[in-house]
Symmetry: C2
Subunit: 354 residues, 2 copies
């Protein structure tokens, strides 16, 4: 860190992640990792046993705080993302959501306008009260230099789970509904935009300092539909949150959005853009970095593999993107069979300590 | 069609699809649709009953020819793609491949170098002899103005099925293997490159006039790995086929490859590039069309929905891309619940007959 930047840090007293998201280029980029609290850590697996099911883990502040803090104890990360899941929104709306071991989430699918009647937007914030307790507890317990990130799923991605009943599909049923009956599909999206906006506002009220919106399945959308169901709902949420919290930095993650990323940034007004591993670095540097802070994009399977190729790739990502506003991260969440020591190695490399 | 082009057609006697793939801009773009022979047609479902399982349908020339011809009888399409499946290659190599109704293909996964011992490359062409019979029969039965397209899966996509045991994943096991042991993963890829090259050469020997390589899961690859496992094996196959058949036009389909498409075209030397629905039209026109003939990219769910939005989108695709070398197609294969009359409507629209 050079003297000018150091001086400014002391002056502003702002945390690295927030400074980067406000457009500052740091000599050492901040680092956090999607799903940094998770099954790859033995202490997570221990804590996990104390909750009956996965949603109970999300809704028990004591346990959610504990697993959120676990990676912070192990690694010199710049930020902590509250432990939760994007499917708490459909759960809070009254849809039946179950997490089955080794199978991922399964929802009772909603496939038409009649199905929307099961959704009750009124009780969402009450239902999610434990999440806000988790955030408050984390702000008390997190070291002062760590940024607390709140998050939600983007409406399109949450809608895919709600309509298909699961992830990992090509979103055919959701895309079909959106084309055949855009008006009734909009009703579902409006419910999600409203619920997600109030959820994120309350996260900031409770102490979240940065927000990330995960649009994990935006890559299945055609150009037009991406504008309609990924960009537009994101813009409405960003506007809604900023109406109450004008300064909170927001990161968008239109996974698989490829070429639409530049338009996504311009139209939604997000401060940062998270990139999956297939986004080419030089294109991102030249095209996206002038528009927003970049975040990404180490392949999560390269983190599993480790070794010289991982070292080289981490260095290349930092060398290529680190000359502008940049946050080191993965292209997608950490997978369960990741060796914990590989995470330590990546943190060292990004810090320039090896 | 203007007089010059018409004169040239009569002179060269070449079919529209081949002319377009050689770089000619036609006033009416040729059209064919991925999976145009399939479950959305009642006559396909009837013929399907005559085969015990799906692979038997692929390996019975009489039935494969019949289902290939069915869409040609119904619609004024420019090309016919032989009815087959990309998984005949692992099947021919000796891996256990099963197609279960409503579940998609299931393979006995190969997850390390030891697993490669089940593969026997020697018998591939003998095993695939029925496919070549299908092609020969189709050349006899197809109307003279229809182009016959042969195809194969790209090695990366076929490897994903072979390693994961199924599709629809993030390719984590294949990506992991490729990172941890690139040398042994290369052995699998080399087997696939060799088998696919000889398979495609024999398809052309048998009468295929154009080839398409489907890399349906290339979108899960990081930038580096895309170069290594999508571009490089494709280039080797293109070179191998061209060493024997220098003039056969080849279409690549790096689905989800996004920004890597331009490099894919330049490095592999394909004549055409098939684009999924999320590729933005104006970018494709400006960036890719100077390099190759474009093919695509109507959303297969918009073909299901039909109506004014489908009409408008078809017209916009043709208006935007039709001023250069272009083949109208979908972004991905036709899905089973597609109303057959919507296909007729799209053909009319592309032909400018409505």
């Amino acid at each position: 860190m050079n003297e000018t930047v150091k001086a400014r840090t002391m002056e502003t007293n702002e945390k690295t992640l927030i400074r980067t998201l406000k457009g500052e280029t740091l000599s050492v980029p901040p680092i956090w990792l999607m799903r940094q609290a998770g099954r790859y850590l033995p202490e997570y697996r221990e804590t996990r046993k104390q909750a009956g099911n996965f949603l109970e883990l999300c809704y028990t502040p004591e346990l959610a705080i504990e697993v959120t803090l676990q990676p912070i104890r192990r690694y010199d990360l710049d930020a902590s993302i509250m432990f939760c899941d994007i499917l708490v929104i459909p759960d809070a709306l009254g849809q039946d959501v179950a997490f089955r071991e080794g199978e991922g989430p399964v929802l009772e699918p909603i496939q038409n306008v009649q199905g929307l009647s099961v959704l009750n937007p009124d009780g969402v914030l009450d239902h999610l009260a434990p999440v806000f307790e988790t955030i408050k507890g984390l702000r008390r317990e997190l070291p002062a230099d760590k940024t607390l990130i709140g998050f939600a799923g983007s409406p399109w991605t949450v809608a895919i789970y709600m309509v298909e009943g699961r992830g990992g599909t090509d979103g055919g049923k959701a895309r079909s509904w959106a084309y055949k009956e855009p008006d009734t599909f909009s009703q579902l999206m409006d419910v999600l935009v409203a619920a997600t906006t109030e959820y994120l506002i309350m996260q900031v009220d409770s102490g979240a300092e940065v927000l990330q919106l995960f649009d994990s399945w935006s890559g299945v959308l055609s150009e037009d539909q991406f504008r309609k169901w990924s960009i537009d709902p994101t813009r409405r949420i960003v506007d809604g949150v900023r109406a109450v919290h004008p300064d909170v930095p927001i990161i968008g993650f239109p996974r698989g959005g490829g070429l639409m990323a530049a338009e996504f940034i311009r139209e939604t007004g997000v401060n940062g853009i998270s990139m999956d591993a297939n986004v080419p670095l030089e294109w991102a540097r030249d095209t996206l970095q002038p528009l927003a802070t970049l975040q990404g994009n180490l392949d999560n399977q390269l983190l599993v593999a480790g070794g010289a190729e991982m070292d080289m790739t981490v260095r290349r990502i930092v060398d290529t993107l680190g000359k502008g506003p940049f946050i080191f991260n993965l292209g997608h969440g950490i997978v369960p069979n990741t060796p914990p020591e590989h995470v330590a190695r990546v943190v060292e490399l990004v810090r320039g300590q090896s």
